[in-house]
Symmetry: none
Subunit: 191 residues, 4 copies
DNA sequence: CATGAATGAGCTTTCATTCAT
DNA sequence: CATGAATGAAAGCTCATTCAT
């Protein structure tokens, strides 16, 4: 039927990205064959290669894409006028939010069973985000609200702590979230 | 294995274990072919299979072996008569020690790019160690020296924080170690 | 497959089946490596696994496929109105026909150097064919044309006898065929 | 203890031969690894190679050894003074005897899942035995007791028939033995 | 003579990638 | 653009054979 154009299904590329992220997260990068990925994504195997030259590039592109999205989400509506404590806890809660709303995504970004396959660009993707964070921490230190010390070390310890709680699969409850955020704040706050 | 002296001059099996741990840590589990592992270990491919029925079993046996050795090391010379703070900081320092003396081992045990391949026994291997830790934390809580809250959550946050610092590859200096341990203590101590 | 016309011009799958049957028959199942089989079949090694999940399944599928085709061939044009003797000799001749026209196939189906690898389905594949044969023998016994006794034993002795003649590699001549069939008839006929 | 000579266990070579025959028969030639064979035989792996230069040679030597033993057994106490019928039936019964007394041996010698590995000598091993059989048949034909025709073909059909009955695993009963032998006699006798 | 730890060639199987349609 | 059948390099693993003890 020539006069009826095929309605293109909602972006094959997006299907691939979403499926790949989920499978890489669930089963691991190496344990996810491209043909299987294609099948579940509902596309032909060859189609993946139209968008991504190789499996490794696919991984890295997805990683960077989601990493940026998550960073954007964490910083969104970041009200600069609030107190350092409020701002810090806001950041923590946003971070935890993701692991609640999309555990696969969080696990994909943080657990990184594919770590040896990340390229230089991917390893550097956090840099801009870190600048904002470092500025926030330095400002807090100047205001005498945050402990002194290397901001990157401080920030790493916070995210490391939260991620580990996620990995041990304690189910997040209102109480455990509060508990976790409070401990983080306790760690980094002056006094 | 620099900090573990009890391993005698390397037999074939020990060569395999040591080499496998290093390669799995460096390149990842899937990216390490058995023949390559065999070659670097200085044994024939078939020899590995005399000692380990499969690659996955090799991984799990190594994991459990080192996990236990490290736990033993962390708890060694744990002086029960010292203050809670001293004991806590001792544990942290022992933990960091390993990552300094044997970064490959620490990375192997903590980064776990092979996570999906760990079996039930491996996932349960920490249980005894955790009992000691949980007791230590509960005692500290009773003494009013440690914050209240789930001991497993608290312990996870500490190790998660330290591991993340290691992963960002900040070189450990006397200052950064002290800084890190102090922050951990700050997080968990009452007042 | 000379005597079976219904197989169309060889697709990849059919190439694999035909080649495998010939090689398994000639050299034995274990002595036929998959890459060699693939090469002779003119396909890539992986292609075999698109159609058959494993070497053992390949064997069993081929076995059942040909077993059924041969049984069909043996029973084809089986004229029920003829005398028991005519019918019996017709069956024997059809059976011998195959070993003349396609010795590899006959050897594959009857010599079974791969016997330990046949699965339950394969071992049961003859059942329907045997029902027809058993009925034929029982009818012959009722008509007092065939000797009494277990029809399966009787039938087994006939095919066993013929197969053994084939295996000793006496070249079939018109005389030896007649001789063989006559002896079989002599064995099973009443008087 | 130098003055006490080790009592040699009852012939390691015989242990190997017996075990190999059983395993080759049960599981197939290729499916029987030499180390497993050695273990079950209660000898070292290397010991097998003191007696047999290779697995294939082991197979062929065992084959010939038992083939000759069986032939000897079949012909033993063969009373030349009896009638052709008696003598023929005696041979058949001796043959069946073996499959009853030692099914593994019979299966090893007759089913031959290892057929492609038999060497020329093994294929020729029956020759002397066949000479006796051929003479017996020719004599019987001269006496007008046995049907005319190639003696080798006739003999093959008899053994083929009996072997097939064994393979279908109909349990031998006095009745089925008699039935089987009678049919064989019916086939070959000049009535 | 006997051993069995060690070997590595060679097996079955998988899967990232290609390309004719 | 999209496909998926086809590929073959390379993986995990086995086992006939050797040789130091």
């Amino acid at each position: 039927m020539k006069f009826l154009k095929e309605i293109p299904s909602p972006s094959k590329k997006e299907q691939i990205i979403l499926t790949a992220m989920n499978l890489f997260s669930e089963q691991g990068f190496d344990a996810t064959p491209m043909p299987k990925l294609a099948e579940i994504a509902g596309v032909g195997t060859g189609t993946i290669y139209r968008y991504f030259p190789s499996k490794e590039i696919l991984l890295n592109e997805i990683y960077r894409l989601y990493k940026l999205k998550v960073e954007e989400y964490v910083l969104a509506d970041f009200d600069k006028n609030k107190s350092v404590e409020k701002k810090f806890k806001y950041l923590c809660n946003r971070w935890i939010d993701i692991s609640i709303q999309d555990p696969k995504l969080f696990s994909f970004l943080e657990l990184q069973n594919y770590f040896p396959y990340l390229d230089e660009d991917s390893l550097r993707i956090e840099e801009n985000f870190m600048k904002v964070i470092v500025k926030f921490i330095k400002d807090g230190q100047k205001e005498n609200k945050l402990v002194n010390g290397d901001p990157i070390l401080i920030f790493g310890m916070v995210t490391g702590a939260i991620t580990k709680v996620f990995k041990t699969k304690l189910i997040w409850t209102e109480i455990s979230i509060k508990s976790c955020v409070d401990l983080c704040w306790k760690m980094v706050s002056k006094n």
